[in-house]
């Protein structure tokens, strides 16, 4: 992926070049590229005058950041306590089986990344799965296929439009 330094620069300007805004800037980069490209981090390091090692430290400490490119769709399976007692782990198992990847990884075709999340705060409607910003309430292993297909289909439709 091509990292446009202009884009990254605009994030830094938005936060007034403040060192304390590092996390905010990284969040913008993550949102833009779905991961933190190495080039972008080097650029931020130079601009904010923060050693790259400290930036990597922050980037690897917080679970929101990824140093690897993510898929087009990010599937987050909630493993909060309420989702856990209602069968969240079984849902995760099923996604692993169906996608053939472990959590934290991305399918070879770069369509889906599978992640777990500690709690989405929608405990009443668990087990919850969020794909991008689409919440799926009270999921069961039976619904896993249709959740995957729903987002796959979307992809096809978009392509047709193109």
């Amino acid at each position: 992926m091509n990292v446009e330094t202009d884009k990254v620069k605009s994030f830094i300007i938005k936060y007034n070049h403040k060192k304390s805004a590092l996390i905010g800037i990284l969040q913008e980069i993550q949102a833009e590229y779905n991961y933190l490209p190495k080039k972008a981090l080097i650029f931020v390091s130079r601009e904010l005058n923060i050693p790259l090692i400290d930036i990597i430290g922050v980037a690897t400490f917080y679970s929101a950041f990824s140093l690897e490119p993510k898929g087009d769709h990010i599937i987050k399976v909630c493993l909060g306590t309420a989702c856990h007692v209602r069968g969240g782990p079984k849902i995760l198992d099923e996604f692993q089986k169906k996608l053939g990847i472990e959590p934290g990884h991305t399918t070879k075709d770069m369509q889906f990344s599978l992640d777990t999340v500690a709690c989405l705060g929608c405990c009443a409607i668990g087990p919850v799965v969020v794909v991008d910003n689409d919440y799926h309430a009270q999921t069961s292993i039976r619904k896993v296929d249709s959740i995957i297909n729903k987002h796959k289909k979307k992809e096809n439709k978009n392509e047709k439009h193109k």
Binding site: K18, K19, S20, A21, L22, I23, G24, L26, Q27, D54, G57, V58, F61, Y62, S63, A64, F65, L79, G80, T81, A82, C83, H84, V85, R86, G87, D93, K97, G100, V117, A118, C119, L120, G121, C122, C123, A124, I125, G126, V128, N133, Y135, H136, A137, S140, I141, R142, D145
Partner: protein
């Protein structure tokens, strides 16, 4: 027109508030208030809103009906829900297609739509308005209640309920010190977890040296299972801001931060909007309301680190650093954000402030307990009927929250524990249900208040697994700074994980306790100091569950998958490898499937018909649809074996040893014990008092359920292997136990069953025409004439009662058959499909009826006087206790009354010389591991020991007794061996097409038509055909392949 000008003074603000109040009062539009928090939206509230708006437009009702999009109403279970005002109606689970009816019928014509009302799970009532719903009744919604009244994106809505009035009051009348005094005297304590007095904290920061001070709102609601802060920020963000502004004024801070989790996009959006709006109106910024007080509020977005809920880690994170906690002191009040004095409070604390200012500290401190004031919001989630956010006064009991507000546990399951306080908290058991909740009581009980997560767990939750869950969470979230936490939690997880895999050893629990103490003592921050709590609290209340995992390799909740493997096999008392024979059936390999069944089961044709099938009750397919029809698959296979003349080897076992064992009773326990002893080369003689072998199978279960030829097939196979059977030979009458030893038997196994009926204990029980169910069933099974009249009543609700009724209905004399049962159908212990068949056959089951007196004329039964019952509280068995309704007596005319309540063992054959002890219910007392009585060489099992139980339980006891008796014969001590459950082979799974998965459902058992059942004993269930059985077997989820062993055996699937 919307007023967006800056408000320049408190008096102007007060005028605006007054104006907004009047506007809201004079607004007589019908309001459709839709709950649209994150949960509501996930359940489709935005589509509902869209549909409502379209309908309003279509019907041209814009001037009279209005949709209001609010935050969460708290009752998440009922999402999407709508409150209609001024009608005061609460509709739940509203779908877009309901919009038209809601608007046309309810909003315009005041007609209530019954189908959209909430049904109380306990009472079955359908209350119309919110305040009459049990979920809301016991709540005190001081903070959350406003969510319903306002659109969170509309500052004017907040003003219309008096919002920012407290800020005006503060700026007008109180000095910063006054405010701190007010907050102190309200005695409010921090809602984030630790419960530190808020006013005192504010005082520290105010007094701290320096001009630059900060306030922070901790909205990093990281405790899994807690989401009240999200709901407040989504539904009422200005209230949080108002609290912060007042706090900043009191403390002397001019800059504030809201540190919010990025997992909360809607809350983030609404709080951002609120800040912008408040800025525009001069409520935040320079010279607020002309008071000369300045405050800026910024947002800092978390990046997914639980430890950032800890205040020093949170501060580091706002500073753009790795979120590691640091040593305190200095406390943030002295040296916090950017090394300046900083006051941090949680969202809910800030949201309480305006209330305290408005109503006064005296009013506030009257709510709650001595040391914990005000209300607390809990998120009531997990295995609970009414999930949602509940706001209750401190001091309410757990029972009130879980059962009165929460409506109890779904599916009639038993309450097991409630987890409070998130990963730093603990699990409290049923014995703590009456605990009044406040900060101190929860800590004393081994948990904490925390931020208010309350996760309810039922009997299907494994407490060791829960401990593992939290340890896993914490080992991920530990920042890694302290070795004790980083390594200690990891090692604790490893030990607990090992236990859940069935690899636990003696000493593991003690090691866990030691580690827990070390982690607690040596960690810097709250995360590490409390990391052991989930383990310690589960060990405190559920130690025996750990011990069962370690010693017996059992997970009673069937959760730990390495221990359980396939629940069908795991729960089978005789270790039938159901998943294996199902897998073979799916491939059409019936012969192999039959072999697998016979390996562990000498009565398979019987069990394929009458087993109470715990395998099906626990089948994982049942969790997502319907369980696999395992019993019917077994029935097909065993019938297939008979039709195809595929018999087990009838080779007589050579008697390798000169051991002789006498088995007394040819029921399932005796036959099974005899069979397995014989397999070991022991000479077995079975003595049976009845003319036929089979025990209750032969004389207790009617032929329409278990045909004689099928029973005989199994029994003959057992006997053919070389067992001697002596019928019409009764212990106590024809021989004594001593006689057996005298005749050279080395050991005796007593399995005489439980055939003695229990009395009803009512007046007139000895009249002519009153019979015992067991007697009627025995006569019927032996083909004798039944002494029944035209109108027959059966008392009881178990299988014997249903069997008696179905036998009676088949008798040539009967015209009307009743069953009288004192509870409802839901509580009936008889099998559901049996009840269904009884109803089909025209049996009149009267529920909630208790016979009080047998009516008679000339010594003959003429009827029975009954009283009506109602269901009261739960009893020990978890069923609701039936209570008589005074004055509701009524009479049923009968000429025959059959009592089928229960049976007990008849041990009148025992003599004092036998030296065998019995319980007060006359059952034999044996050692629970060896099944040995107090008399050397005498063992016992089956119903004679347990009282009336199931066929397969009796067989299980017989099977285990055979092991123990053989050890005894060999002169060895016997102790049962515990292993994790594994199948003897792994069958390659069949591939299913997507369509097949979509369409797969449990087939119905074909039955003989009711007409064809008339007055005969033909078998009612007809069994599946080959096509059906293969289709059903293919539906199996193959749980045994999910274990590490299973994965290895099948190897590299999906890759």
């Amino acid at each position: 027109m919307k007023n967006t000008n800056k408000i320049k003074s408190t008096s102007e603000l007060k005028k605006i508030i007054k104006k907004q109040k009047e506007r809201s009062k004079s607004d007589d539009k019908t309001k459709l208030i839709v709950s649209a928090g994150t949960c509501g939206q996930a359940r489709g509230s935005m589509e509902v809103i869209d549909s409502l708006n379209k309908t309003i437009k279509k019907e041209k009702l814009e001037d009279t009906v209005q949709v209001k999009v609010t935050g969460c109403h708290g009752f998440c279970e009922a999402e999407p829900n709508i409150i209609l005002q001024p009608h005061d109606i609460f509709y739940q689970h509203v779908q877009p297609e309901d919009a038209e009816a809601i608007i046309k019928e309810t909003a315009v014509n005041n007609k209530i739509l019954d189908r959209l009302l909430f049904t109380d799970p306990a009472s079955g009532e359908k209350p119309k308005s919110e305040e009459n719903i049990s979920f809301y009744k016991k709540q005190k919604r001081l903070v959350l209640g406003d969510n319903v009244k306002i659109e969170p994106t509309e500052i004017n809505d907040y003003l219309s309920i008096g919002g920012y009035g407290s800020l005006a009051k503060v700026l007008d009348t109180f000095s910063p010190e006054d405010v701190i005094e007010i907050v102190k005297s309200s005695q409010i304590r921090g809602r984030g977890g630790a419960g530190f007095p808020t006013g005192v904290k504010w005082g520290f920061t105010r007094k701290a040296k320096g001009d630059d001070k900060y306030i922070i709102c901790n909205a990093d609601e990281g405790d899994p299972g807690a989401y009240m802060d999200r709901s407040l920020m989504e539904g009422n963000p200005h209230r949080v801001l108002e609290g912060m502004i007042i706090g900043a004024y009191a403390i002397g801070a001019h800059e504030g931060y809201i540190y919010i989790r990025e997992e909360y996009p809607l809350a983030l959006n609404n709080i951002k909007l609120a800040i912008n709006e408040a800025k525009k109106r001069g409520l935040i910024g320079k010279n607020i309301l002309g008071s000369g007080f300045d405050l800026e509020i910024n947002i800092s977005k978390g990046a997914g680190a639980f430890v950032c809920g800890e205040e020093t880690a949170l501060i580091a994170s706002i500073e753009g650093k790795v979120g590691e906690p640091r040593q305190r002191p200095p406390f943030p009040a002295v040296e916090g954000l950017f090394r300046k004095p900083t006051n941090i409070n949680n969202v809910e604390t800030w949201a309480n402030i305006s209330l305290i200012i408005d109503k006064g500290p005296e009013w506030y401190s009257q709510i709650g307990t001595k040391k914990s004031k005000g209300t607390k919001i809990f998120s009531l989630v997990g295995k609970i009927n009414n999930t949602g956010l509940v706001e209750v006064p401190m001091g309410i009991t757990l029972r009130e929250i879980i059962f009165d507000i929460g409506g109890g546990i779904p599916g009639g399951k038993k309450f097991k524990a409630v987890q409070t306080g998130g990963p730093s908290g603990g699990c409290l058991p049923a014995e703590k249900l009456d605990l009044p909740i406040d900060y101190e009581s929860l800590t004393q009980a081994g948990s904490i208040m925390g931020s208010g997560g309350m996760i309810v767990m039922d009997e299907n939750t494994c407490m060791v697994d829960i401990a593992k869950y939290f340890l896993n969470f914490l080992r991920d979230e530990s920042c890694g700074k302290c070795l004790s936490c980083r390594e200690g939690v990891q090692r604790m997880w490893e030990i607990v994980n090992k236990i859940t895999e069935g690899k636990g050893e003696e000493g593991d629990i003690e090691l866990l306790e030691e580690l827990a103490q070390a982690v607690k003592d040596a960690s810097l921050c709250g995360l590490g100091q409390t990391a052991a709590n989930p383990v310690l609290s589960t060990l405190r209340y559920f130690r025996e569950e750990y011990e069962e995992h370690i010693r017996k390799k059992k997970c009673p909740a069937l959760v730990c998958k390495e221990i359980v493997s396939a629940p069908c096999q795991y729960t089978c008392p005789i270790d039938q490898e159901a998943s294996v024979y199902i897998a073979l059936t799916a491939r059409g390999e019936f012969k192999k499937a039959v072999d697998i069944i016979r390996k562990e089961n000498p009565l398979p044709t019987v069990l394929g018909r009458v087993c109470h099938h715990p395998c099906e009750s626990n089948c994982r397919a049942g969790e997502i649809g319907e369980p696999i029809a395992i019993r019917s698959i077994k029935r097909f296979l065993t019938d297939w074996a008979i039709e195809n003349d595929y018999k087990p080897s009838s080779e007589t076992k050579p008697h390798k040893k000169d051991y002789k064992v006498a088995v007394i009773g040819a029921g399932p326990a005796g036959l099974t014990a005899g069979y397995y002893l014989n397999q070991k080369g022991v000479q077995v003689t079975i003595f049976e008092s009845l003319p036929v072998p089979g025990g209750m199978l032969a004389v207790g279960i009617p032929e329409h359920r278990l045909p004689k030829d099928k029973l005989d097939f199994d029994i003959q196979n057992i006997l053919n292997s070389g067992i001697t059977l002596k019928t019409n030979t009764a212990l106590g009458k024809d021989f004594s136990i001593q006689d057996l030893f005298d005749k050279g038997f080395n050991a005796v196994y007593i399995a005489t069953g439980a055939h003695k009926p229990m009395k009803m204990g009512i007046q007139g029980e000895n009249k002519q025409g009153v019979y015992q169910g067991v007697k009627i069933l025995r006569l019927a099974n032996l083909g004798e004439e039944l002494p029944l009249g035209e109108k027959v009543g059966i008392v009881g609700g178990g299988n014997a009662a249903i069997d008696s009724a179905r036998v009676a209905v088949r008798d040539k004399n009967t015209k009307k058959v009743y069953i009288l049962y004192r509870r409802t159908r839901k509580e009936m212990p008889a099998y559901e499909d049996e009840i269904e068949s009884a109803l089909e056959e025209g049996i009149d089951i009267q529920y909630l009826v208790l016979p009080k007196k047998v009516l008679s004329k000339n010594g003959k039964v003429t009827g029975v006087e009954c009283i009506k019952m109602k269901l009261g509280d739960l009893d020990e068995s978890g069923r609701r206790r039936p209570i008589p309704i005074e004055g509701s007596e009524f009479t049923i005319e009968l000429d025959t009354l059959i009592s089928a309540i229960s049976e007990q063992p008849d041990t009148s054959y025992l003599t004092p010389d036998d030296n065998i002890k019995t319980t007060k219910w006359d059952s034999l007392i044996v050692d629970e591991n060896t099944f040995s009585t107090d008399q050397k060489g005498v063992f016992a099992g089956g119903d004679a020991v347990t009282g009336p139980s199931t066929v397969v339980e009796a067989m299980s006891m017989g099977k285990k007794a055979a092991q123990s008796i053989f050890h005894y014969l060999e002169g060895k001590t016997y102790s049962p061996e515990y292993k994790i459950s594994r199948p003897s082979m792994y069958v390659e799974p069949v591939e299913l097409t997507e369509e097949e998965i979509e369409e797969a459902k449990r087939p119905e058992m074909p039955k003989l038509s009711v007409k064809k059942r008339h007055k005969n004993f033909k078998e009612v269930d007809l069994g599946f055909n080959e096509e059906t059985v293969i289709k059903e077997a293919r539906r199996c989820l193959r749980c045994e392949l999910e274990t590490e062993d299973g994965k290895k055996a099948i190897g590299g699937e999906n890759d």
